[in-house]
């Protein structure tokens, strides 16, 4: 396990993010939780200053209402229904590549800024997460379903969507 590079840590600290120390590998493996209003600024800084040009993935996970301790680094208390969006970008410059992960909490009914203006590769990734999990990305140029038909009801990867939900005429 390697530590976070100093310049990336400096960027995180400049955006006044809460950098978790316990467990020790949480920051390197899962990254800090970013408030939604700081997300675009952080993404720009990571791309232009830390040279994280490679967009690895964006993955959302649905969490029904419940304790916040289900999500590492989230703290204590109760969380409403929402999704956790995990991003990972990579710096290829200078020897061994460095992965920089970060996460965003999005309550259901609210939106999170799209990262397409920063990395064009976020386009299909965010469309996929919108389609399957239902996270709405604000500012996405073309946010429509990608895997499922346009008229599909619901988002299958949500926890309240049963695996055998019927959907005429497909199943």
């Amino acid at each position: 396990m390697s530590a976070l590079p100093d310049d990336v840590r400096a960027i995180f600290e400049r955006f006044e993010l809460d950098l978790p120390e316990d467990p020790p590998d949480l920051l390197v493996e899962e990254g800090p939780l970013v408030p939604r209003d700081k997300l675009l600024g952080l993404a720009r800084a990571l791309k232009l200053e830390a040279h994280c040009l490679f967009f690895v993935y964006c993955a959302a996970a649905h969490y029904p209402p419940g304790p916040a301790s289900r999500i590492p680094g989230m703290g204590e208390g109760e969380l409403p229904d929402g999704t956790l969006v995990a991003y990972r970008v990579r710096r290829l410059a200078g020897g061994r590549p460095v992965d920089v992960p970060f996460r965003v909490w999005v309550p259901t009914g609210e939106t999170t800024p799209s990262l397409v203006p920063v990395w064009v590769g976020a386009d299909w990734q965010e469309r996929e997460q919108y389609d399957l999990v239902g996270t709405v990305f604000e500012g996405h140029p073309d946010l429509r379903r990608i895997m499922l038909p346009e008229d599909w009801e619901g988002h299958p990867l949500r926890k309240d969507y049963a695996i055998d939900t019927p959907h005429f005429p497909w199943r």
Partner: protein, 425 residues
């Protein structure tokens, strides 16, 4: 619309490839395109009077390498805008895996990238091992690496045969090259069958190691097969590399901007053909790749021909790595955990997540998995996300297709080596 990255401003002398540093990455200057084609082009604003012809390429056309539909808007012979429609093979693998225990997921993901199933198994089990904190024994690591490299040769052989057919029926004498490639690939599948009992969907990797040990004498047999395939490779190059039709069809076709490739997340041979030297096997060694030296072939041209050259070199490199490992497979157990009798025996209840990216024949095949945080359902993954390299390669089509003719688009899409089973999942 995309953020400006610092661009070079001086054109180099003709003929010479000059490299520039963009964002700290050394890329070929000639490939840097500014601006990129607009994938959200408003067709009315493009030219209200133009007589654009929409063509639905696919979903059943063989040159799409699966069931992909791309709506192409053609201005005469040249494409103006391409809109891919995915999902014809969507099976809901990620949802399905949330209802399967860690030990049961492997045979399901076998079917994602159906040309290199070994890679799917390896990627998913490595992510589970990271979540559990299990380290497979050295013998399992070496066997996994041998399987991965042989699978890479088999996958590239299939790609070579089908893509040469795409590029023109006359290349390689109709279907001759296709048949030759399949003949050699069959030898590798036979070897896998001897170990696992299955020709294709092996289900041989488990959490913590492998399920099947190598039978006696398998190593020598595998080395003989690899030697044979290596001796055949120049033959295939003679079919293509000296063929004027092939060179005209591929040289300068589908030139890929390395910055665009990085931002979209394209990896593997397609990225390395654009001059970006990045390979997970060398840069973040997993399994037994730290035991061998991995030489990474890189090309600067960025076109379909360069992608072909990178894959041909990779095949030779894979054969070399596999042979080197086959000569000295360490003895010992092949699994770190006890053989799984009850699928529910493997439990994680930390709520933590893990990401592992491996170098599959098509690029970085990643698995992002979040563990449960309740003891009751600790044997099921909470959320599983597969990062398929082909999905990212297909996201390139709206950028590479504009400006190309329909016949070139077939070559471009084929040179990216998409497998629709993992695009749609």
């Amino acid at each position: 619309m995309p953020l400006p990255v610092p661009r070079p401003f001086q054109r180099p002398a003709r003929g010479a490839t000059r490299h520039v540093e963009v964002g700290g990455v050394r890329v070929p200057y000639e490939l840097v395109v500014d601006p990129w084609p607009d994938p959200y082009l408003d067709l009315d604003a493009y030219d209200p009077d133009a007589d654009l012809m929409p063509i639905n390429w696919g979903p059943q056309h063989p040159s799409t390498h699966g069931v992909l539909r791309v709506k192409l808007f053609m201005d005469g012979e040249v494409c103006v805008k391409a809109v891919p429609y995915l999902g014809y093979l969507h099976r809901g693998v990620e949802k399905l895996c949330e209802k399967l225990s860690y030990a049961q997921v492997t045979p399901i993901v076998d079917k994602n990238d159906y040309v290199s199933p070994m890679m799917n198994e390896l990627a998913i089990n490595m992510a589970f091992e990271k979540l559990l904190g299990v380290e497979p024994p050295p013998r399992a690591q070496v066997i996994r690496t041998i399987f991965a490299e042989m699978q890479r040769v088999a996958s590239h052989l299939l790609w070579l045969g089908t893509w040469a057919m795409d590029a023109g029926g006359a290349l390689g004498g109709g279907a001759t090259l296709f048949m030759y490639c399949f003949r050699e690939r069959e030898m590798i599948l036979d070897l896998f069958e001897e170990v696992t009992g299955a020709r294709f969907h092996y289900n041989t990797h488990t959490v913590g190691g492998n399920r099947h040990d190598l039978p006696g004498g398998w190593e020598e047999k595998a080395i003989r097969v690899l030697d044979h395939i290596e001796s055949r490779l120049p033959e295939y190059e003679d079919f293509l590399r000296d063929n004027d039709i092939f060179l005209v069809r591929t040289r300068g076709v589908g030139r890929l901007d390395p910055l665009l490739a990085m931002e979209i997340g394209v990896s593997g041979p397609s990225l390395r053909a654009s001059g970006v030297d990045h390979d997970r096997r060398r840069d973040a060694p997993y399994a037994a790749y730290d035991r061998v030296e991995v030489k990474v072939p890189v090309r600067d041209a960025g076109d379909a021909l360069a992608r072909y050259e990178v894959r041909m070199d990779e095949m030779r490199e894979s054969i070399r790595i596999a042979r080197e490992l086959l000569q000295d497979v360490p003895a010992g157990p092949i699994t770190a955990l006890k053989p799984v009798k009850m699928p529910k025996a493997i439990k994680v209840a930390t709520g933590r997540s893990a990401y592992v990216g491996i170098e599959s024949p098509r690029g970085e095949l990643g698995t992002f998995v979040i563990a449960q945080n309740e003891r009751k359902t600790a044997h099921l993954p909470y959320r599983l996300k597969i990062r398929p390299p082909s999905f990212h390669a297909m996201a390139l089509l709206p950028y590479l297709a504009p400006g190309a003719t329909l016949s070139d688009i077939v070559v471009i899409a084929g040179s990216l080596d998409p497998i629709l089973g993992e695009v749609d999942r």
